[in-house]
């Protein structure tokens, strides 16, 4: 084989390898990104599925500044204190909307674990918490709508009349 032809073939081989490697690199990067995105999506869906709650009953009376209600963990996973405290509470009636975050003062809510049989301080599946919503104003007679939203957006609603 002449020397010139050998050089051309070698150059072409190197060029083809570089192009193939570049293409493979780009392809792998894209594929990794897609896989990561898919993993994130699955994780997000899992979170939505795992953490769920249900308001069993709510009670208050006219003139009171407190609404007490009981929420059951009907999901698959237990919630540590930190995540329970990230829940939000929305109370609304015809004239007023309350948006309450966890706290000890008025216009906030707090909770206590009722049947923490394993005594781990976590809100396990099937366990119930007693939530007390403290409002800045007394409740007047009428219908109220409660929505308790967990950290992941899972929610439970309840209609209450006082």
């Amino acid at each position: 084989m002449p020397m010139g032809s050998l050089m051309t073939e070698f150059t072409l081989a190197v060029a083809a390898t570089v192009i193939a490697a570049t293409l493979a690199g780009v392809y792998f990067t894209s594929l990794n990104q897609v896989t990561d995105l898919q993993k994130l999506q699955v994780l997000g869906l899992k979170e939505q599925l795992y953490y769920r709650c249900d308001i069993i009953f709510a009670h208050s009376s006219e003139g009171s500044t407190t609404i007490k209600f009981w929420v059951k963990n009907i999901g698959f996973k237990d919630l540590p204190k930190e995540l329970i405290k990230k829940s939000e509470l929305v109370i609304l009636n015809r004239n007023k909307v309350y948006y309450l975050l966890y706290g000890e003062s008025s216009n906030s809510w707090n909770y206590r674990l009722l049947n923490d049989s394993d005594d781990d301080g976590r809100w396990d599946p099937s366990e119930t918490i007693e939530v007390e919503a403290h409002l800045s104003e007394s409740l007047t007679s009428g219908d109220y709508y409660l929505k308790f939203v967990l950290f992941n957006g899972a929610e439970s609603e309840y209609n209450l009349s006082v």
């Binding site: 990794n32 009953f57 366990e127």
Partner: protein, 178 residues
């Protein structure tokens, strides 16, 4: 293209294809796992939709702070006696002051707490249960479908049930009284 270049490109593309197939398989496995979990969850939801608890009878005792009730498991699934502490029992009543109160009562088989509830027995059509019978000391057994659970519940001594009352019971899986 030269034969050497062609071979290298072919080898690289084959490697890429194999790796891509591997990634695809991993993604499929992840999806399958999620799908299985979803089915499990749907089963749980289905169980909750299907069943309910029915209060067959309830009565207030003379001390005005104790009630007895019989609750039938209408397709809520078998509930282990060991999980009775995860059952919620809420009593709603009007006291002699005229105010309506609602109290969540803890499971208290030894009746040592000031307020609580305990199971008295489980029967099937009025006779001893046939399936998964409970031990006399309530240490084992199940409250199965179509069986009736008799309970006793009591409120704190400072309160009284003036007239009518309501009971809400929720099983560990979220099935509740209708």
């Amino acid at each position: 293209m030269s034969s050497l270049g062609g071979l290298i490109v072919f080898a690289v593309l084959t490697a890429v294809s194999l790796a891509a197939m591997g990634c695809l398989m991993m993604a499929t496995v992840a999806h399958n796992q999620f799908f299985i979990e979803r089915i499990k969850f749907m089963e749980k939801i289905g169980e909750r939709c299907r069943g309910y608890l029915e209060i067959e009878s309830m009565a207030k005792l003379q001390d005005n702070r104790t009630v007895e009730a019989v609750i039938k498991n209408m397709g809520a699934g078998s509930i282990s006696v060991k999980d009775f502490d995860e059952i919620d029992l809420i009593i709603i009543y009007r006291n002699s002051n005229g105010s309506i109160r609602a109290e969540w009562l803890p499971y208290d088989p030894s009746e040592s707490l000031e307020r609580g509830w305990r199971a008295l027995n489980i029967t099937y059509n009025g006779v001893d249960e046939l399936k998964n019978p409970i031990a006399p000391d309530m240490s084992s057994g199940f409250w199965d479908d179509d069986e009736s659970l008799a309970i006793k519940a009591w409120i704190s001594s400072g309160q009284d049930i003036a007239d009518e009352f309501m009971l809400i019971m929720v099983a560990p899986n979220g099935v509740r009284t209708r």
